[in-house]
């Protein structure tokens, strides 16, 4: 163990340091000055995000338990940017609602711990590290979901999340144990060499897949999603839908494209069915939602279904398109959640009807929302279109034209409910519209970054080429 091997874990160590610093700060800073910790946390995390972009070599430590390469590194940076935007968007809420109850710092500590877990999860080189990461990333979020202790719904969300997460991780663990039983190792590299399609292995794989499906909220493991999103504070719902889902998709992709690659003839059919079910159920349930958080919950279920179109390929093209799509999805969804957050904070309104006539009072927020929804729906020239188009291209490259066709049918269905929100904001009038308000600096900055992302990520093609280049490591 020398300095170099520590530098490989740069992301992890830095984030851990920040978390500990905040903990110390929490103890020593007097009660009246607690809000300065919010600024400190955001500032430190900003530095952490920036430092993350320093280049890194491909290597592994702890006897192969922890591995990293450029793609993993890149994805950690994407997660960092996502969390940074999320922090900017939540800063006002924390300052106004949470710091007063003297629970401001814990929010950051829990959030950062969860993120740390995700780092370990996507860097895992064996199932043990993977499992530790999975647990570390999930448990703090359950506490976060129940953060608004005065609201019953928030507590309900926390309980629901922890129970389903516990079940999911149990199922996962059972799958892992079966895989260990058949292959005799928990290291990914060892398993690749001995994996065969025996019944026990397949059973192990399916249980493992089911466990991760909870986190990505794939149908039929999506039932917790809408309730938890609705009850949890918006920042946490936003975190669950973008960061948590993004990391889970990433590690699932890595494992399926490496460890379980020999089983592709089995899981491609499974993914096919799950993709269709997820898209259709997510979209059809989203049609009737009135609450914006539930609405975005079902929309994010449907989006996960689209991601599976890249997963089904098992190729470098699939990897690249998934990473690219997830990155765009993070920006788009954060923009949508950010607007919901801003409005909810100022007025407490979270229903679609409350948005009637929003454009005439708050044009900027409405335009950001429109861009975000267009990006989610996949309308050019915003980034979401490119993300979806490339996913479809990936699926078509393997000849899944029927699947692509059904997916584009789903795009049309999803367009309907995205347009409902746009209809409320732009077309409908209201007797009592949400009055004009100005956001604070953090929120504005947070929304601004997402808008830049939505506008630039698609049109700026070298980015995709860069991701494609990085994706070669897993094939």
């Amino acid at each position: 163990m020398n300095l170099d091997s520590f530098l490989i874990m740069r992301h992890e160590i830095l984030l851990l340091t920040i978390t500990l610093l905040l903990l110390v700060g929490e103890i020593f800073i007097s009660k009246s000055k607690k809000s300065s910790l919010v600024h400190l946390a955001i500032f430190l995390f900003g530095i952490h995000t920036a430092v993350g972009f320093l280049a890194i070599d491909e290597s592994s430590i702890f006897g192969g338990s922890f591995q990293t390469n450029n793609l993993i590194h890149f994805f950690k940076n994407v997660l960092n940017i996502g969390v940074f935007i999320l922090l900017l968007q939540s800063a006002d809420w924390i300052e106004e609602k949470i710091v007063g109850e003297n629970r401001g710092t814990e929010f950051f500590i829990l959030l950062f711990s969860s993120l740390l877990g995700m780092y370990f999860m996507i860097s895992a080189g064996d199932f043990l590290m993977f499992y530790i990461g999975l647990e570390l990333s999930t448990l703090p979020v359950a506490a976060l979901a129940a953060y608004e202790t005065t609201k019953r719904k928030s507590s309900e969300a926390g309980i629901k999340l922890i129970l389903s997460a516990a079940l999911a991780s149990g199922v996962s663990l059972f799958g892992i144990s079966l895989l260990y039983a058949t292959s005799g190792s928990i290291f990914f590299n060892d398993i690749i060499e001995v994996i065969t399609s025996t019944n026990l292995t397949i059973l192990g794989f399916i249980l493992f897949f089911a466990g991760l499906s909870f986190k990505i909220s794939l149908v039929p493991f999506h039932f917790w999603t809408a309730d938890v999103y609705e009850g949890a504070p918006i920042s946490v719902a936003s975190y669950l839908s973008v960061i948590s889902k993004g990391a889970a998709v990433f590690i699932l992709m890595i494992l399926m494209f490496t460890v379980f690659k020999p089983l592709i003839h089995i899981w491609e059919n499974m993914v096919y069915v799950v993709a269709l079910a997820t898209m259709f159920i997510g979209n059809l349930f989203a049609l009737r939602q009135q609450n914006m958080k539930r609405f975005l919950a079902f929309s994010s279920i449907a989006q996960a279904g689209f991601i599976l179109l890249g997963l089904i390929t098992g190729t470098q093209l699939g990897t690249a398109t998934i990473v690219y799509f997830v990155m765009i999805y993070i920006f788009s969804n954060l923009a949508a959640f950010g607007v919901v957050q801003a409005i909810s904070l100022k007025t407490g309104k979270e229903n679609m009807d409350d948005y009637n006539g929003l454009y005439r009072t708050n044009p900027n927020l409405s335009l950001i929302m429109m861009l975000a929804l267009f990006s989610l729906a996949g309308i050019p020239p915003v980034a979401g279109f490119f993300g979806k188009f490339f996913l479809f291209t990936a699926a078509a490259s393997k000849g899944y034209y029927m699947l692509v066709f059904l997916a584009v049918v789903n795009v049309t269905i999803s367009l309907y409910y995205y347009l409902l929100v746009i209809r409320a904001m732009f077309i409908r009038r209201s007797e009592t519209p949400i009055p004009f308000f100005k956001n604070k600096l953090y929120m504005r900055l947070g929304l601004f970054i997402t808008v830049i992302g939505i506008l630039v990520l698609g049109l700026y093609s070298p980015l995709y080429d860069y991701i494609y280049e990085l994706s070669s490591v897993f094939n």
Binding site: A320, F374, I379, P380, P381, F385, F389, F390, F392, T393, A396, S397, G399, Y401, V404, F405, V408, V409, V411, T412, L415, Y416, L419, I422, R423, F426, I427, S461, Y464, D465, Y468
Partner: protein
């Protein structure tokens, strides 16, 4: 900067400047200036095209090619031939006329003009693209502003119509997407690299099985926008609810994307598929021609009458394209242009009549020729052009279509042609019926006696559209030569 990219850049700049304007006056001036520049550019392009054509034998001229997404071999590739040049001119004229007709938009004027110009950007981009991906991007950009345009500034059941129109058109584009991907992944059939470039794909012999599979998807994807029966239902509702300028742009320009796309992509790239499926789509198109005409006969709302008439006329475009011969194709393209000007003019006039009388129900109108003679007279002229009177653009187009269609041997084609020709008679009936009820006779409402005739901006809009209609009718040869020359490489694919 190359001459074609400006067609996208100028509207985008206009939109950006519009973002900083305040109030109706500034917004309309900026849009007017932008659209006039655009019109100037497209007239300039016609002359430049003729000059270039003398020395350049390529299918497309003024081509430019920039790599966009290297991995997928996606390029921003542009180029024009005679067909796109003509359609660009049509677009810029209709957009400018649309800006004049919307001179008095008082609700959210800035947003109105921005949406209008976003739509036109999409259309311009679509006509200059020779890369399937770029084309598809512009196609969707052109469609989506319709939702806001109809939803915010429309009338009647506007939310319903806007949603129906948007979903049907975006659904069509979704079908098209599968077709485009299918073409893309078969573009290496001859051993080359995968490509989205239309000219390169045209050189490839895409396997017959693939053509058979993807032709219907591509065809339907585009033809829905061209109001193919039975996917035309968005059109009457959409037109009826849309504000005047939007109806003009939509019927005049946007629906042309359908015919153009069918011609440029479906027919050109998948000729064997076209020959395999033509019987099926001829039945649909011919049904549309006849059904549209009879539909127009029964309506009493002026906009519905014109919307159904559009279904009928654009059905003829698709019908002629499916006949797969030079004369018919020439007719189809002429019909596209002619219908573009004509319908835009019709909708402009309907908007003026509606703005004055506040009704579009012809049974409540009467004797308008006495109170607003200029508008009414132009309405008669537009009607005559629409029913195909010699001397106007419609005659040239329909003549070509049916002469071409009748050249096809085989009982099936002949019968389809004869049935479609009968629609012309019905057209005459519904046009003259409107003229009779609405323009002639007694003034039915005393208040109408006070009505004012067209204002200066309305007159400008009308003249912009009327001049090309008469121009095409009186001197069709230069246009038809330009189109025929450009059709040549396309027809070789199917012969």
């Amino acid at each position: 900067m190359d001459i074609l990219s400006l067609f996208v850049i100028v509207p985008v700049l206009t939109i950006l400047i519009l973002g900083f304007t305040k109030g109706l006056k500034q917004a309309r001036i900026v849009s007017m200036v932008g659209s006039i520049i655009q019109l100037g550019m497209s007239i300039n392009l016609i002359f430049a095209y003729f000059k270039e054509r003398k020395i350049n034998e390529e299918i497309m001229v003024f081509t430019k090619d920039y790599v966009w997404f290297e991995q997928f071999n996606i390029h921003y590739a542009i180029g024009v031939d005679g067909i796109s040049v003509a359609l660009l001119l049509l677009t810029s004229i209709v957009v400018l006329a649309g800006v004049f007709i919307s001179w008095k938009t008082d609700d959210l004027p800035k947003e109105f003009f921005i949406s209008l110009l976003v739509l036109s950007t999409g259309v311009y981009g679509f006509f200059i693209s020779i890369d399937l991906f770029t084309m598809f991007v512009f196609y969707e950009i052109a469609v989506i502003p319709m939702y806001l345009l109809i939803g915010i500034w429309g009338s009647g059941p506007k939310e319903y119509s806007a949603m129906k129109l948007t979903l049907m058109l975006m659904g069509a584009s979704a079908v098209l997407l599968v077709g485009v991907l299918g073409i893309y992944f078969n573009s290496n059939a001859d051993g080359g690299a995968l490509t989205f470039n239309i000219l390169e794909i045209a050189q490839v012999n895409i396997p017959f099985e693939a053509q058979k599979l993807f032709f219907p998807l591509t065809f339907i994807g585009f033809a829905v926008l061209g109001a193919l029966f039975p996917f035309h239902t968005w059109s009457p509702d959409g037109h009826a609810s849309a504000p005047t300028a939007v109806s003009m742009l939509h019927a005049g320009v946007l629906m042309k994307l359908g015919g153009y796309g069918v011609f440029r992509v479906a027919m050109f790239l998948l000729p064997a598929g076209a020959m395999h499926w033509d019987w099926f789509f001829i039945i649909l198109a011919a049904t549309g021609v006849i059904y549209g005409a009879f539909g127009a006969l029964k309506q009493t709302d002026l906009k519905y009458i014109n919307a159904y008439s559009s279904v009928s006329h654009l059905g003829m475009v698709l019908f002629a394209l499916l006949m797969l011969n030079k004369t018919a194709w020439n007719g189809a393209l002429m019909q596209s242009l002619s219908h573009g000007f004509m319908t835009a003019l019709f909708f402009a006039l309907i908007g003026m009549i509606y703005g004055r009388t506040h009704t579009r129900d012809i049974t409540k109108l009467g004797g308008l020729l006495k109170v607003i003679p200029f508008i009414s007279a132009i309405y008669v002229i537009a009607g005559l052009a629409s029913l195909g009177l010699p001397g106007f653009s419609g005659f040239v187009a329909e003549m070509n279509i049916f002469v071409g269609a009748f050249q096809n041997e085989g009982m099936f084609y002949r019968i389809a042609t004869i049935l479609s020709v009968s629609a012309i008679v019905v057209t005459a009936v519904y046009i003259l019926r409107v003229v009779g009820i609405m323009l002639m006779g007694q003034v039915k409402n005393k208040e109408y006696l006070e009505l004012q005739d067209a204002t200066w901006y309305e007159t400008t809009g009308i003249l912009l559209l009327l001049i090309p209609i008469i121009g095409m009718g009186v001197a069709p040869l230069w246009l038809s030569d330009m189109l025929l020359e450009s059709i040549q490489p396309f027809i070789q694919g199917v012969l």
